[in-house]
Amino acid sequence: MGFFVEVLIGGLMAGVLYSLVALGFVLIFKASGVFNFAQGAMVLFAALTFVRLIDILKDTFAPIMLSLLITIALMVVLAMAVERLVLRPMVNQPGISLFMATLGIAYFLDGFGQTLWGSDIYTLDIGIPKEPLMLLETVFEGGVLVASEDLIATVVAGLLVVVLAIFFQRTRVGRALRAVADDHQAAQSIGIPLNYIWVVVWTVAGLVALVAGIIWGSKLGVQFSLSLIALKALPVLILGGFESVLGAIIGGLIIGAGEKLSEIYLGPYVGGGIEYWFAYMLALFFLLFRPQGLFGEVHIDRV
């Protein structure tokens, strides 16, 4: 039983890490109706920029803080460039065209980031404790082992959700974002500046990518594989719904726990290595009952 609990907790923690990446997808989809395939590349680009700047600025008085500020500034610049060079010329184009454009952005950022900063593995140490914690030792023999960095990631993800929920629900900009997502033209007609809104949402997604990149980067080292973590976020999105911040979190938890439990308890019967595709199977299974995802919006179109 102790082992089951350990796998379950480990899976939930892994799920939170997936959610961190999934949040970036949700933000842009929620605010612009665009599925941003470049989110993984943004995670890599943000983390690479951050870690390499720390190295370059290591002789200054506050390398981490300075690097963080410069990286944030660069993510703002990136958002502006994306809006100006990619999105603006494609206003009112079909969603699939915008999606294809984000594919291009993903390939560009992957290559640009590595050309600029190198493609080696860079160690990122921002002081997150690594020592695992042993919990419930009196309840289960051997206790339940929990990685402290995963716990911190959980707290960070929780905070992000709260901040984003307030941003979307309580602020003027947040409401404008939702209006743009519903209908570009209608939003423009009532005076919502579409270009500005797109810059804001890509900036916020860039900042979420930076947070995800820092958490994942301190865990794995900053390297190209960070961009592949986006693939882990896809089943989370399918399950949680593309428009729901809460769905990204709940979806992450279900996917994380489901894939770990399946790997441990079903894997040995089918040769193992099933967690990758099992996540998609699990998401598709949920879609049978809720095609819009657990927390996705139901769209009813007049025909």
Partner: protein, 466 residues
């Protein structure tokens, strides 16, 4: 209008930051950047034939981008630097210049095959010999090279049964197959336990990359498990290996006496970190030679101390004569492929050694066919009849990095000995004597597997008598 000015201003600032960063690195001259080490463009100039056509073309399949770039770059730099050294120091091989072109595979099988098709016809006599640097690409090219008559050198990777030249005349898994590596590891943990008979009742877990590469050692380990009575648990990790929590929770649950790690790229450092996270002792972890280089241990910091791997004979080090020559003729001339400080890392040395063997088999083939550009078929003879003696090793400046090698029609591997090295937090140190893989165990497996392959592909075994 103001908005567009803001964009221009910010873009300009970004440019200044980037330029400033570059200047700082250049000024300090420190290894803050691996840009030069990892640049994907350094050697990617297209092949241009020399006017007299007196050259031997060597195709280079490398990966300097993608998830495996941190490992692939070191191998590629070592390989290319040695080719440059031979051209700069010796004027080629007996006067025949060495030309090459790199092709980026990203460690993807389809890209590898595409690179093969693009490069195989270059040079006055076509491609000399391919070094795919990937087991997946090797599997894909095995049949193609037979048709095209171009040999494949797969130093430390590829199909283990391909050492049987009577079935695989064009494959040369020189210096060690995965069965050799796995056998050496079993013998090593046997030695640590007080003898192979002491492995009875012990548990060994294989944490492996879920790919043809990762699955290769399983038959040998199963065989050894039956022989010595240890239990074997196989735990796959899906590509690229960034998420391994389930695998390591399983290790924590099973509490194996030893873990063998069969990973590549980010999987290795992640495994070491996860082992630390579940408090599995690194002293009981042993990797294959593709899991025992600097990029595998440095990202995990102090968690890597005590971790070991089998070597493909050599470890790290830049004190050999060959390194001194590379510094003198390549780096001092400004032609180095990577960062000077990283010459001599484990994977750099592997690439360099691989290129040295390519050059020596060309030399060997020239001894029969003359000092001129040779075809792949002629080079194949040079490989199959290749012998690297201690005297030649010393002459090449490779003393201590490699032991004598002797290939034959029936043995395309040439040698089956290896050492273990252990990471001490700063560098690799040898932690065992030479261990020879047991051919009494491996040879029957090779014969069976090669026969099965021959039957499946309808291949008639060649005679190795003549």
């Amino acid at each position: 209008m103001g908005y567009s000015k803001l964009i221009k201003g910010l873009l300009l600032s970004m440019l200044l930051v980037i330029v400033g960063c570059g200047q700082k690195e250049e000024g300090t001259g420190t290894d803050t950047s691996s840009d030069s080490q990892t640049s994907s463009n350094t050697n990617n100039q297209a092949y241009a034939p020399t006017p007299d056509g007196n050259e031997q073309f060597v195709p280079v399949l490398s990966y300097r981008t993608g998830p495996y770039a941190p490992n692939g770059t070191g191998v590629a730099n070592g390989f290319v630097d040695y080719l440059k050294l031979v051209d700069a120091r010796d004027g080629g091989v007996n006067g025949v210049r060495i030309s090459f072109e790199e092709c980026e595979t990203e460690y993807k099988t389809d890209r590898g095959v595409e690179c093969y098709e693009r490069l195989k016809g270059l040079g006055p006599t076509g491609a000399t010999v391919f070094n795919p640097n990937s087991t997946g690409v090797t599997f894909a090219l095995t049949e193609k090279t037979t048709t095209d008559k171009i040999p494949l050198i797969t130093m430390g990777y590829g199909r283990s049964e391909s050492r049987d030249g009577s079935v695989f005349p064009w494959n040369f898994p020189m210096m060690g197959t995965y069965w050799t590596a796995a056998d050496v590891l079993v013998q090593h943990v046997g030695n640590l336990s007080g003898g192979l008979d002491k492995l009875k009742g012990k548990k060994i877990a294989l944490v492996y990359h879920d790919s043809p590469f990762g699955k290769e050692p399983i038959p040998l380990l199963q065989k050894r498990s039956e022989m010595h009575g240890f239990s074997l648990t196989t735990i796959p990790v899906t590509h690229p290996g960034v998420e391994q929590k389930a695998a390591w929770l399983q290790v924590r649950q099973d509490k194996p006496d030893y873990v063998f790690l069969w990973g590549w790229g980010v999987m290795n450092s992640t495994s070491i970190k996860e082992a630390a996270a579940v408090r599995y002792p690194r002293e009981q972890m042993f990797g294959v030679w593709w899991s025992g280089a600097e990029p595998d241990v440095t990202p995990a910091g102090d968690d890597s101390i005590g971790y070991s791997s089998v070597t493909l004979q050599h470890s790290a080090g830049s004190d050999n004569q060959v390194h001194k020559d590379i510094f003198k003729y390549v780096y001092d001339a400004g032609a180095g492929s990577g960062d000077r400080d990283r010459v001599g890392e484990v994977l750099y040395n592997r690439g360099m050694l691989n290129a040295a063997i390519v050059v020596e088999v060309i030399r060997n083939a020239q001894s029969k066919y003359g000092q001129k550009p040779l075809t792949g078929e002629q080079i194949r003879w040079g490989i199959e009849n290749f012998e690297l003696t201690q005297a030649q090793i010393d002459k090449l400046g490779l003393t201590g990095m490699v032991q004598p090698i002797k290939l034959s029609c029936s043995d395309h591997e040439g040698t089956r000995i290896a050492r273990i090295h252990t990471w001490n937090g700063k560098t690799w140190e040898y932690s065992s004597d030479w261990i020879e893989a047991s051919d009494a165990v491996i040879k029957p497996m090779v014969e069976t597997a090669a026969s099965n392959y021959a039957k499946e592909k309808n291949i008639t075994r060649a005679s190795c008598e003549s």
